[in-house]
């Protein structure tokens, strides 16, 4: 039997066992996860549907086809970049850092078979998000134009063929970077981070180089599209899928089949190329990555310890020690903070360049709208990051729990330490971002203060949710944070966090839209609404923080590891 067949058969058995376990497990958990997934997909569908319908009604007679073409080009271009990046990262860890790869390479398995096997895993792992984002858009697009089953089947074929392209590119990037770029762990990571940052920066700078005129919204849109017209370059695979799907809608089957064939041929070519490269680079990359060793030495009581020790004077000793330990671990793990830096860095660049769009010269309705969107973007990014980084923190203590479980310190100090770290760090970053947004937009002081207060509540609530639920649903068997996050507790935390953010946004957004919008509340009424809004935010934030924390504290007191 060929080695790749043996590996595939083993994977199939493993998946069957997982499926059986899910079936035998708690139906409630499965039902909750399924309900969340369906609700999330349905919300995205509604959002896309309303957006497309609005555009259709607004620009049906003039620009709709042009607008859709550009939007699809940009959408698929951005998704492709995201997929290449995530495939490269996942491929690097699964080809060169995993225990399973070491186990397989020590056996009589060809390196290119190990590559194929791991490629399939990376493809599945990184592409589900693409399908989760792209399918509601396509469903909304199909529903808007009342398209038949042929459109959905055709779109499905496009997607299945397409995901191989970024996966193959990502795999090749991972192998080439590992084999030929800096020979140190940090150098490798910096290579990945710098390359992806450079690509993103170029895109952002393209958009931000536009100086808008205040009176010509449509002109602005067209300027933006013109400036990022590179996404409509016919040489790009993202253009092929975008064009192919639009041709499907227009029932131009021949044209659609041409693009499907083009994607299929390129997927095969790139897949073949990656496989061919793996015969030489898989083992080479493995040897390079195994030969890396960090030479940096860290003394106890260094500058970071002293600075943190002094600046966190207001915390109890136990909490302070936990905060310093977690911060040091975070700072020394570039995989963690590089993701953090990319997303918050992009938000900062965008906020700092808000004046490129001349929003500060617009009327208060637009300023309020943009400020609200910025607050939402910051809060949703925070929600994602608290779910990704804070929630798994206690689970990650699992194998080290004997250390902190044995020290003469109350266990609740562990949770308070994590809460303090999460709250203070997210508060510092997000308040800075929103302050930049307010200054760049020249928003009225009332709005700026309202947003700062709302963000305070959001940071508190998100931190409480992530830390509390992290203690309530720990997973001590797993040391991979992304696997901890993808369990029931992680999903619940993400969904509750998103719901909490939307609730706080509504509590402060309603009075703002009523006052700064085109419905113009009287100042007296506005004050009344603001009091109601602030009280709601306080209740929501305290509930989001205190309830999960109380449950988490009770759980950690009884914890047996």
């Amino acid at each position: 039997m060929s080695d790749i067949v043996v590996l595939a058969a083993m994977k199939a058995r493993e998946l069957r066992n997982r499926f059986r376990q899910v079936r035998q497990g708690s139906r409630f958990k499965v039902a909750v996860l399924a309900a969340f997934s369906v609700a999330f997909w349905a919300s995205l569908y509604r959002l896309f549907y309303f957006g497309l319908r609005y555009l259709y009604m607004y620009a049906r007679d003039y620009y709709f086809e042009d607008l859709m073409a550009r939007m699809f080009d940009i959408f698929f271009f951005a998704l492709t970049l995201m997929l290449i990046f995530s495939n490269a990262i996942i491929s690097y860890t699964s080809y060169f850092k995993s225990k399973e790869t070491a186990f397989l390479l020590a056996g009589p398995v060809r390196p290119e078979s190990v590559f194929l096997y791991r490629f399939g895993e990376s493809l599945a792992f990184s592409s589900w998000a693409f399908l989760f984002l792209a399918t509601p858009l396509m469903a909304a697009y199909g529903a808007l134009f009342r398209l038949g089953a042929a459109f959905y089947v055709g779109t499905g074929l496009f997607f299945v063929a397409y995901i191989f392209i970024p996966a193959a590119i990502g795999a090749m990037v991972a192998m080439v970077v590992t084999c030929y770029i800096p020979r140190s762990r940090k150098g490798l990571l910096w290579g990945f981070v710098a390359t992806s940052l450079a690509v993103v920066m170029i895109l952002v700078s393209k958009i931000l180089s536009i100086r808008a005129s205040t009176s010509m919204e449509l002109r602005l849109v067209m300027d933006v599209f013109e400036d990022i017209g590179f996404s409509s370059n016919p040489i790009l695979p993202s253009f092929w899928i975008s064009r192919g799907i639009r041709l499907l809608r227009q029932e131009e089957v021949g044209g659609a089949l041409f693009f499907l064939g083009l994607i299929g041929a390129n997927a095969l070519f790139l897949g073949g190329l990656a496989h061919w490269m793996s015969s030489g680079l898989m083992m080479k990359g493995w040897f390079v990555s195994q030969g890396l060793r960090s030479a940096r030495r860290y003394a106890a009581g260094g500058v970071l310890d002293r600075v943190l020790g002094r600046s966190l004077f207001f915390m109890s000793r136990g909490v302070r020690l936990m905060v310093v330990k977690d911060l040091k671990s975070f700072v020394r793990d570039p995989v963690q903070w590089s993701q953090f830096l990319i997303f918050f860095g992009l938000l900062a660049i965008y906020f700092l360049n808000l004046r490129s769009f001349a929003y500060e010269d617009r009327d208060i309705f637009w300023k309020n709208l943009i400020a609200q969107m910025n607050l939402l973007a910051t809060s949703l990014t925070l929600a994602t990051f608290s779910s990704r980084f804070i929630f798994p923190q206690l689970s990650l203590e699992g194998r080290r729990f004997w250390v902190i479980g044995m020290v003469p310190m109350e266990r609740d100090q562990i949770l308070f330490g994590k809460l303090a770290l999460s709250f203070l760090s997210s508060l510092a970053i997000s308040e800075t971002l929103i302050a930049i947004s307010s200054v760049m937009l020249r928003t009225p002081m009332t709005l700026a203060v309202l947003h700062a207060v709302a963000l305070f509540g959001i940071c508190l609530g998100l931190s409480g949710l992530a830390v509390g639920l992290g203690a309530l649903y720990p997973n001590f068997a797993e040391d991979n944070p992304s696997k901890i996050v993808s369990g029931f507790g992680g999903t619940l935390n993400l969904v509750l966090s998103l719901g909490f953010v939307l609730a706080v946004m509504a509590a402060q957004g309603v009075p703002c839209f009523l006052y700064f919008g085109r419905w113009a509340l009287a100042p007296g009424q506005f004050q009344k609404w603001i009091v109601i809004g602030m009280a709601s935010i306080a209740v929501l934030s305290l509930a989001a923080c205190l309830i999960p924390m109380a449950l988490g504290l009770r759980r950690i007191q009884r914890l047996e590891v």
Binding site: M1, D3, V6, A9, M10, R13, E14, N17, R18, Q21, K99, E100, A102, F103, L105, A106, G107, P108, V109, R110, R183, S184, M283, W286, F287, Q290, G291, L292, R293, A295, A477
Partner: protein, 245 residues
């Protein structure tokens, strides 16, 4: 048979293994001892083909591990210090997977699995998922997988960690039996008594160098000590003895 010819390994500027030359004959049980960080695991990983020597050559049963890795690996079994098992496979499924990787005919596979389940007393729980096993149960499955395809060379890194006395004795007996059948065994261990009891030859590694090698008598001579292996080991490592390689 294992041959290491002037093998060195650098991690950046750090020299982990220095100019190591060694030959393990068929049927020989060779144990390597040394303090933490001496280069034992690096040496073992180079034999297993998971690390490439910076210089020198490693051969297993006559096949260069770097140039003909698949031929070498087909004749060899490697047990790392932290063995890997698929959590979502049962022990039986894992053994089937290993047998398939080594192209064992199904009748022989089933017969051998039955025999090994008997030897390692795994029958009761071998159909359960590996995630439910204790450390000792996992070690037994890994050792069964190691022996399943009748390797000519077994390379083992710290096999006794976490085993109860009964299992440790069982493993010792099985390795000795394998050596009697003609299998070359290269074992790294911290447990001096096991090396003393099982190994025909013992190598002592310090700071990447093989500072002493030979049977018990030879090591005693090199260390100028009449004591047990423990005394010999401490004398050699404390003196930073620089013996033959």
């Amino acid at each position: 048979m294992i041959e290491l010819e002037n093998v060195s390994k650098h991690y950046g500027k750090k020299l982990a293994v220095s100019d190591l030359s060694l030959r393990i004959e068929p049927g020989e049980f060779f144990a390597v001892l040394g303090p933490n960080g001496a280069g034992k695991t690096t040496t073992i990983k180079m034999i297993a083909g998971l690390l490439r020597p910076s210089s020198g050559r490693v051969r297993v049963c006559g096949f260069d591990v770097e140039r003909e890795p698949l031929k070498a690996k087909r004749l060899m079994s490697y047990v790392p210090d932290q063995p890997f098992l698929y959590d979502k496979l049962s022990g039986l499924e894992f053994l089937h997977f290993i047998a398939d990787m080594y192209d064992m005919p199904s009748a022989e596979r089933d017969r051998e699995i039955d025999r090994l389940c008997e030897v390692f007393a795994m029958k009761e729980w071998i159909r359960e998922l590996c995630e439910s096993y204790s450390h000792g149960m996992k070690q037994r499955v890994v050792l069964a997988a190691t022996l399943l395809h009748h390797p000519k060379v077994i390379v083992v890194d710290e096999p006794m960690v976490g085993l109860d006395p009964h299992s440790a004795r069982l493993v010792r007996g099985i390795f000795q039996e394998e050596a009697r059948r003609g299998t070359s065994i290269f074992m790294s261990t911290h447990v001096i008594s096991i090396a003393e009891e099982c190994a025909g030859r013992i190598g002592i590694v310090m700071q990447g160098k093989l500072v002493a090698v030979g049977g018990m008598e030879e090591l005693r001579r090199q260390a100028q000590s009449d004591g047990k292996l423990e005394d010999v080991f401490f004398k050699i490592t404390e003196n930073g003895h620089s013996g033959p390689t």
